[in-house]
Symmetry: C3
Subunit: 249 residues, 3 copies
């Protein structure tokens, strides 16, 4: 097994974002790329991540493998990479560890031990949404920061002409409108309005996907889980599922 | 009541500075602009602030009004404005709150509840000063930071030819001279030298007015309150009164 | 005694670095410059520093003198200097203090009291090394940061063709190679390999010498103290001695 990344940014930012939700994870390596599916310790959020062979300059793997690591350690190592560094990840079977070479003006080698991490196999839940919104990723990031100054939860409300985020605090409240237009696409099911509430703390972590992709899609239904998805040109998929806050919260 | 600000900087920076001294305030709105007069909880400093209609692109108000708000909440909202945003503030009488619209690449709306805040009417004290100094605002800011590394109080000393700030600490002391010159104007009464001491903690907060105006004036007398004033071209006035530290401190 | 520095950077950065190891120090002033030799409170590291008259635009001293100061206070004062400031240091004998003038767009004066600081005369130990390595200072700084994410100690290993830094942590380890080449010079004694371990905490403080000089030399022997040295074109010498961590640490 040997992967080479000419640009470390996609992997580094993804690991940064995912490590905000989970610490110990299992990467599944196969000919179709690297996959991860994990649930946060509070069972409120799920993250699914895929890096395809197209994201690598070299992607060699003989057989399917599960590689469990501590993300904090991996994050610390990737943080040491410089923009001009090439990253080579290989498996040291004998010592049960990953070898990560950062080569640029010099060569630096890190070894990261694989961990035992048995957790029952997870699957993405089969969800049916009534609303799907696509907005510029940076605008979602901004809007969630807007909400964060007044409350710890936000309502997402979609109609055919408008997508609204609303938060209500003690002394102040906030509202951001995304009217359906060039950069905001709204697709609704039969209902005229779809509404659900989510925790801002989690949304803020997910919205950092704006560092990876220009666009984000939000799929939800009334009082139903939210699906957040970022895609980078066939190279990367970063998705989340977030449990709703039911209305009597 | 409806105000539009094409440039949010003046309001945002003013609120930042004032919120360092007081949390709950009453803005008085009239045809002549927006006024504020407040005393800090320790009764050591007073701040007076005026934003004239010239600071706004639109300034409509039917009658005089007192609008009391929590400055921390207002600060958090204004902090969310971007340089290119237009800010529109209006009164939602029914719900007893201010509506603040930030419009730029999108439209974001915040509502800020008015608070009950009855405090006896304050007035600026009638003060007679023996010295008035005008210096570049950034130089005052710098000099106070210089003083701050050696002590928590500073002496202001004015003669006809020189304005001096002095601080004495345990192991070190500091002195900054502002000789009367092009950018430093000194105007003294009958006395040959005027001297008073003030708390650096408060002065440092006031000196942040350098973010608003290029020049600052300092008026004082022997062991007497200090008046600090910033003005922006007929648009804004930000003033402070600071109680002296008497010499046997 | 009177020194003038047109460029405050050398003195300011040196004091910043040294103050991370010791707080109270004695500067020895003589016609050959300013010297300092100090041991950190834990007796693990020694620092020696020399600023020659060539570093100054004016360097006047009548007789040899010992000037003891609190480095934290000196650091705070030097931090207030701006890049364009000229620094003039003189001795105020009557008041037993240093006078430090920062002159640029204005003149600011700080006085720093000399302290009583009697400690037995220190001398640099007479050390015999088996390996001497010269590497770019920024690369050493980087490599130590690399090591710091996996452990609190690092092994330095020198052979005739390669210099290696290695650190081992619980779940991960790190290794940086400096092959002998244009910018890495390795000079070994009779032994084929030389190895010793040192505390990263101390090395990280010393490696900040990269702010002063482009190159650093490391001299050591098996389980023996390390000598770290930075030189600036005959103007400045900043050296350290660091006790080894013996292998059964």
């Amino acid at each position: 097994m040997r992967f080479t990344l000419a640009d470390s940014r996609l992997l580094r930012e993804s690991v940064n974002i995912i490590s905000e939700l989970v610490t110990e994870v299992t990467f599944k390596v196969s000919k179709s790329g690297i996959d991860l599916l994990a649930i946060d310790p509070a069972n409120v959020a799920m993250v699914d991540f895929k890096l395809t062979p197209a994201a690598f300059t070299e992607f060699e793997t003989e057989k399917d493998m599960d590689l469990s690591v501590n993300l904090e350690n991996l994050k610390a190592i990737l943080k040491r990479s410089k923009p001009e560094d090439t990253i080579i990840v290989s498996l040291d079977k004998d010592k049960n560890r990953l070898t990560i070479d950062l080569t640029g003006s010099g060569k630096r080698t890190f070894n990261l031990s694989l961990i035992d991490y048995d957790r029952e196999q997870q699957k993405l839940p089969n969800l049916k949404f009534n609303a799907k919104i696509t907005v510029p990723a940076s605008k979602l990031d901004d809007a969630i920061a807007d909400m964060g100054i007044v409350s710890d939860s936000v309502a997402l409300i979609a109609s055919n002409t408008n997508f609204t985020m609303k938060a209500e605090g003690n002394l102040s409240d906030a509202k951001v409108d995304f009217p359906a237009c060039d950069d905001t696409v709204i697709s609704l099911g039969k209902e005229e309005e779809v509404m659900a509430k989510y925790a801002i703390e989690y949304l803020a972590k997910m919205a950092r996907g704006s560092k990876l992709a220009d666009e984000v899609s939000l799929s939800f239904a009334n009082d139903y889980p939210l699906r957040v998805e970022y895609n980078v040109q066939g190279k990367l998929h970063l998705g989340f599922v977030l449990a709703p806050r039911v209305s009597n919260d």
